[in-house]
């Protein structure tokens, strides 16, 4: 029974753009300010005001569109989407309806069956709404709400995928890759918990014998889920709910549902059958947006290297695919990595250190690579001490932990703790000879074929050098000396 339906998922992702000012007025685009302290007549929707488009918002939106392989329309326009709500001061949202900024892009995800492109139908610009603080526990109980319009008018892009995902996991992958790509553009904070990235998921089940248009399937929209994990959970719940309904002969209705974090379930918010009639029409206050080839070229040239390119160049540098993925998915980590590699050049060594010991320390201290505790320079000089043979891996680890705690440089730690590997051939050979001379029984064991005896002798040498002798050198010299006993 479970294979009777194909899951069809489409995602609408809203991303707030990191401009200095709002989309249509000069108010600062900030977060967490005093209520209504970042408002002006324009974003308050006062009588007589007019919107003036923020050119930087168009540039950031265009870069996102280009990075997502969209066609940027040389002609687009703004429209009014009309509905009454206290967080929407003009009772219309300036958005783009039938001629959006960009269309026909894609995001590549990696499934068990290989790479797959999830289509992006369109990307358009619009203004954000303000914030309501409800006076009661839940919307229905509240005696009223308080309206703060600081966020009203903040620039957003809406990225609408095609309904081409077929499992919650694919939806998650799409979101992760989308966020990764956008993170390299530095156009948004992309924080779901602060609302700078938001996701609505459209979920429907297509009976396998259904041949009509997808648009005719009853579609359920899960609104404003606040984490990738919950998007996945919400979709999972919705698939099961719809499947059960269909299997018991019930009809799915087109509706908007909310997601309840505690129970992991979705609940009905508003039936779309009596949905709003948004009465879109072209915004008369804003002339059409016509982007020249020259301007588009400038935006294309402003694009940084994007994840797919980075993955390829990491592979070329010998970084394992799994490691490369970890690096690429955290733009700050990746930038840190490239700074260190520029100084040390052994990409694999840097990767190993970053992804194991350093990341462990960062995670344990809840830190982000946006503000690394040890600078790229600091880590590079530590790693140089390893390549030069001054420090063993074990010693380096200790040094790193100390650097992390005290903020000292690698050299300072090494000097203070007297930690440096003895690489002097003659010095070690002297100790080796002494150890061999002091342990005739063990030497005899070795000579008679007990390889394990060597480990004991190495241990003795290391003990005498307080661990500072270079282990492979000790090994080699021991064999050299022991050979004379054979």
């Amino acid at each position: 029974m479970t294979n009777q339906y194909e899951v069809v998922i489409g995602l609408e992702v809203h991303v707030e753009l990191k401009t200095q000012t709002k989309l249509f007025c000069g108010c600062a685009n900030g977060f967490g300010q005093d209520p209504n302290s970042q408002t002006c007549p324009v974003c308050l929707g006062m009588p007589g005001v007019l919107p003036v488009l923020n050119g930087e918002a168009v540039a950031l939106a265009t870069r996102a569109a280009l990075a997502l392989h969209c066609t940027v329309n040389s002609y687009s326009k703004f429209d009014r989407k009309q509905y009454f709500y206290p967080d929407l001061p003009k009772a219309y949202q300036i958005s783009q309806y039938d001629q959006p900024l960009a269309e026909n892009g894609h995001v590549t995800i990696h499934t068990a069956a290989g790479k797959r492109n999830i289509g992006i139908e369109r990307i358009h610009m619009e203004e954000d709404a303000g914030k309501l603080n409800h006076l009661g526990q839940r919307l229905g109980d509240a005696e009223g709400s308080l309206v703060d319009l600081n966020r009203a008018g903040v620039p957003l892009i809406e990225i609408v995928s095609r309904p081409e995902m077929h499992s919650p996991e694919e939806a998650r992958q799409y979101l992760v890759e989308l966020r990764t790509i956008l993170s390299y553009l530095d156009i948004s904070d992309l924080r779901m918990e602060e609302g700078s990235m938001r996701c609505d998921a459209n979920v429907s089940l297509r009976p396998l014998d259904f041949t009509g248009s997808l648009a005719d399937l009853p579609r359920v929209e899960i609104k404003n889920v606040n984490s990738f994990r919950n998007v996945q959970r919400g979709i999972e719940f919705e698939i099961n709910r719809q499947r059960q309904m269909l299997q018991t002969g019930q009809r799915i209705i087109k509706e908007t549902r909310g997601f309840d974090d505690a129970s992991g379930s979705t609940y009905s918010q508003r039936s779309k059958e009596e949905a709003n009639d948004y009465r879109y029409f072209p915004e008369p206050d804003l002339p059409p947006l016509v982007l020249t080839e020259k301007w588009l070229k400038e935006q294309r040239e402003a694009l940084p290297q994007l994840p797919d390119e980075l993955r390829q160049s990491l592979a070329e540098r010998g970084v394992a695919e799994r490691d490369a993925e970890v690096l690429v998915q955290d733009v700050n980590l990746y930038h840190y990595w490239s700074q260190v590699v520029a100084l040390v050049s052994d990409a694999r060594l840097v990767t190993n250190w970053l992804l194991s010991d350093y990341s462990r320390l960062m995670n344990a201290n809840n830190l982000s690579f946006a503000e690394p505790k040890v600078s790229a320079h600091g880590l590079a000089s530590l790693l140089s001490l390893i390549t030069a043979g001054t420090l063993s891996g074990k010693m380096a680890k200790e040094v790193l932990e100390t650097m992390f705690d005290t903020g000292e440089t690698a050299e300072a730690v090494v000097k203070r703790l007297g930690l440096s590997q003895i690489t002097d051939h003659n010095a070690i050979k002297e100790i080796v000879s002494a150890v061999v001379a002091a342990n005739p029984a063990v030497v005899q064991d070795f000579v008679s074929g007990k390889e394990k005896a060597l480990t004991f002798l190495v241990g003795q040498v290391m003990k005498q050098t307080k661990g500072q002798a270079k282990p492979d050198l000790v090994n080699a010299l021991l064999r050299e000396v022991l050979a004379t006993y054979a």
Binding site: P47, G48, L50, P51, F84, R279
Partner: protein, 487 residues
Amino acid sequence: MGTIDWDAVQTADQVQRGEISAAECVEAALSRIDNTNPTVHAFLHVDADRALARARFMDHNLTRETKANLPLAGVPVAIKDNMVTTDMPTTAGSKILEGFRSPYNATVVELLEQAGAIIVGKTNMDEFAMGSSTEHSAYGVTRNPWDLTRVPGGSSGGSAAAVAARMVPLALGSDTGGSIRLPASYCGVFGIKPTYGRVSRYGLIAYASSLDQIGPLARSVRDLSRTLHLIARHDAKDATSLDANTILEAPIPTALQSLRIGLPEEYFGEGIDVRVRTVIEKTLDRLRESGVDLIPISLPHTRYAIATYYLIAPAEASSNLSRYDGVRYGLRVVGDDLIHMYQNTRQEGFGPEVKRRILLGTHALSAGYYDAYYLKAQKVRTLIRQDFDNAFEKVDLIVTPTVADLPFKLGERDLDPLQMYLTDIFTVTTNLAGLPGLSQPIGLVDGLPVGLQWMGPPLAEDRVLSAASALEAILPSPEWPLSGGIQ
């Protein structure tokens, strides 16, 4: 002749030369307002103290050189109440904005004050500029100074009546379908609607955004020129504001016979009051006598203009007026929950004509009707524009009656909105095409004024003003009503 008989240019000249103080001009205007406004009801709000304070400041603190750089030094000016002002209330003639105080000034208000004008008050208007008679104001009707039983036209009826009654020499109005030119014609004053985008709309309470334009009303063509010279400037706060050549400060003297002037047959057909027709024909004869070649032309889509206008304007209005929701400013009428608060506030705050247009506009944009109504109207709008493009290949200017009839009696057209809508038939076309249109008083019939309309290509305000000025020079000086005051 007292100062109230002067036009704005003469007033400013006298103040600049120190022949008279700004305070004397303002006092004369205020006293005229005291006498006539209670009857005419042109003003909704007069701020005598502020006006006098500003005038005295100018008199006491500004040097003659500084005043010489103020083209409207000491000129008392009235502002239609749909342009926002920080120092005076702004209601747009609506109860829903009762008590509202704008935190910013309209761009035109700033420009006028920078030029030395003294704003004395805010004038009455049809609520949100929706009407042709100024009867649809929440604050009472304005009466036509020529006949107090008749309407002054609308929606800038307060501004037109204030200028005609010589309460002020100059006023600003706004024109969406004829709202400057129609009351100018009915009140016997000059009024011009500039090319769309000429004057910043920042601070003009929107009625129909793609049609609205601010313009002056005055008692001379040169006053219109001087005012437009000052206010028709590019404004970065209005994305539809044009960056074009400044309009000349005074009309250039032009020989009328050098102009090719078109007479569109559609504007001279049936339905024009014979008395109006007589006065218009007489004026056209004067033009012919001066050697002007009047060229018959056709603007074939004229008959669709009103239908087009009454889709586009209400549709945009329904959207523009959604912000009056009782949340951030203006009237709030309580309700059990949000939606009832919205409904009660808007139900009580808007008058019947505004509600009619909101319903009409909402319908025209609603699902399933958009293509048949709004989109259709935008397409016909293209045809109407093309009519003008074609005509202006053959002629430099077009002349028509401003309105087909004489000012009607108060209350006469209350019952039939459609009849009221048809009043705008000769004026809406220039709004739809975005062109300049000027109404000029050309004489009286039965004691009521008749207006002639000039229409020009986009940005041809200088040409329109020059022609009107040349005609002004060959016509007898206009008369002004209420010369004996109110009996």
